[in-house]
Symmetry: C2
């Protein structure tokens, strides 16, 4: 593949946060009616001003700076003392051992972990099972390393409430066809669904049978709503060297500005990830690493309150979305994404997304970023100011009516 | 190439800062004499405790955190207001225009910039001209993207004082043979030599004639010693879209703990770099980006003093090194690297490097990291405490005598 072709595929125009670089030429002709006033809400990512970083995070950073060179120049995989703290907490959280020395790497954000994990397991021509819909970078990473994506559908619309909806037959077929890596997010980004214990066990069993390495992106696995049970793949019956789990404090904990992620599990894969990190970015910013000291050690009640606040926003937005005739919105069980399916419109949904920004000050991510089959859906990160978010989704509902087919 | 083979080539055991992961088995049998006491000096990277970060950098970071979401979630290529500040200063420094909107990207360290620049220009089978010796990641990056490295020798030993010593005939031959990318550091890492105006002009002219994209790593181009003149490739007669220049405040300014780098120049290449950054790490840590506001705007006299201090250390270490019979050390004109050639020893130089750490508490980077032809040399980053550095190099000199062939 030529380098031009490779980078053509890596479009970022619709990526969250990149709207500022978008051209809106041609949209004017489609506009109906006037602009809707109201506070701009950028649902493409969470609002860390509305849901502030973990208390004490800046003090930990500041202490890291005071440590000087020892904190600035860590091992490529991160400071060992911090890895030890994090590893023991992640072991407790996920219910399976984590090796601090050889099975843990700190990366620049979970994006960094995902990039390194895919780079460490996928090379040209390798088949990789990818869920549709799932986090848009998954597909792009496979394409960048010239792997072959084998899509596996997640029927989050039709699955009912008990299962995420993964098509396990398709998953097994992809393994039979030679896929050696399976990459998925749980809770699913964008749909917010959590894989059932049965689904996770079947993934483990199939991976074992076919010798597949599984990369489990569990970025949002701490932000779980009332009554939700969560199954950690790495604690199931599966070869520990075939699982890499990825987490980080960028979302629930609002620490994105520090760019921190962690990958843990397979020593083989983590070893490769470190070798690669040495030429990609050397290490996660040394001073930032110090912020991880508070991770999973937040003040009493802090996480419960964060969950409560998000659950209230979720419920309020669901109410507005479900008032739109012909729309569908499954209740997210964890994380802060809503992925409503919109009714048929008189204009392409891609244009509607642009119009939403121009006429209503509402920024969402188009469904096509997550699957070619979800072009009629949009993703909203509802980690926002509660009232501003409700007002923004009300404006979205008004525009749906204005542009309805 | 299988993924196992790809990662085997990416060794990091001898990489700076990774000594902690090294096994020393077998070395014991080679040891002669007792340990030498004295403060451990890690010459594999600069000591940011001895040469502290730019004044005010932490305050800028702190102000970035206070800005909240706007600073945490920047465009992938970095905050536009910061890019504008940096672009105008880099234009003034390098003597050629820098486009803030489309020709500048902020990255996680200069390593991040280098990775993205190579990824954006090199794909499988592409020939890439690489200087020997040069920064070790250059070679590894080309190998990782399955490009073909075409070595071009830098005769820093024999070139005299007026030229860096680049073999321009070899460079042209590599272009004739099809190399479409030339990657080099100026000042050279590890040799500390600065390319003469004539050398830079000839690089520009050859690149123009053969349509080659040049990636110029100018990381150390601010730390220039008395009487040194420096020529910026991008200000010479060369197609601006064929040059990417890389700089950052990690070294001279001791801001490595914030992980910041900048690439500027070719809009084509920078555009690709942003697309890739979107899946590699999203962006340089948002809060860290704020620290760039002080870059090239340090307090009056600060840089002059930093240069003076480093020049004094350089001269003191050169004196010790030149006292070793049979050693050769060219005077670095910029940056903080010394790359002495050691005399013949009774043990392999690779073992001597390990012994130096074990018996003298002196950590250096083996010459083989930079070129297969410089195995008898070691690199020292002399951005250290003055007295500790001198004492450490004196211990090195003692061990050279102890193990001399």
């Amino acid at each position: 593949m030529s380098i031009e072709a490779k980078f053509r595929k890596l479009g970022t125009d619709n990526a969250p946060g990149q709207e500022v670089r978008q051209q809106s030429a041609g949209i004017e002709a489609l506009l109906r009616g006037e602009k809707l006033g109201g506070r701009v809400v950028d649902f493409s990512h969470g609002d860390v001003d509305a849901h502030e970083p973990t208390p004490g995070s800046f003090d930990l950073f500041s202490a890291g700076v005071a440590l000087g060179g020892a904190q600035a120049y860590t091992e490529y995989r991160g400071d060992i003392a911090i890895r030890e703290q994090v590893a023991s907490r992640l072991a407790a959280f996920t219910g399976a051992p984590v090796d601090a020395a050889n099975g843990t790497i700190i990366t620049p954000g979970t994006q960094g972990a995902l990039f390194l994990a895919v780079a460490a397991t996928v090379s040209r021509g390798d088949k990789v099972a990818i869920v549709q819909p799932d986090y848009f970078a998954n597909r792009k990473l496979v394409e960048f390393f010239e792997g072959e994506m084998v899509p596996v559908q997640l029927d989050y619309v039709g699955a009912g409430d008990e299962r995420a909806g993964l098509d396990l037959t398709q998953l097994e077929d992809s393994f039979k066809a030679g896929a050696k890596v399976f990459l998925f997010s749980n809770p699913n980004n964008p749909a917010g669904v959590v894989y059932s214990a049965d689904e996770v066990r079947q993934i483990a069993s199939l991976a074992g049978r076919y010798g597949v390495t599984v990369i489990a992106d569990q970025l949002y696995s701490r932000l779980r709503y009332t009554g939700v049970s969560y199954t950690h793949l790495r604690a199931e019956a599966i070869d520990a060297d075939n699982v890499v789990t990825i987490m980080g404090p960028s979302k629930t904990e609002s620490l994105s500005g520090y760019r921190l992620g962690v990958a843990f599990g397979s020593q083989t894969v983590i070893g490769r990830m470190e070798k690669l990190q040495a030429i990609v970015s050397l290490r996660a910013a040394g001073y930032s690493q110090a912020v991880l000291r508070s991770w999973f050690d937040e003040p009493e009640g802090w996480m419960a309150e964060r969950i409560r606040n998000h659950q209230a926003i979720r419920d309020a937005l669901l109410k507005v979305l479900r008032g739109i005739e012909g729309a569908f919105a499954r209740t997210p069980l964890a994380g802060s994404y809503l992925f409503p399916k919109l009714p048929a419109l008189a204009i392409p949904h891609a244009d509607f997304v642009k119009i939403l920004r121009l006429q209503a000050g509402v920024i969402v991510t188009p469904g096509t970023e997550f699957s070619p089959l979800t072009g009629d859906s949009v993703r909203l990160n509802f980690s926002q100011d509660h009232h501003a978010a409700v007002a923004a989704v009300e404006r979205l509902a008004i525009l749906v009516e204005r542009y309805r087919a």
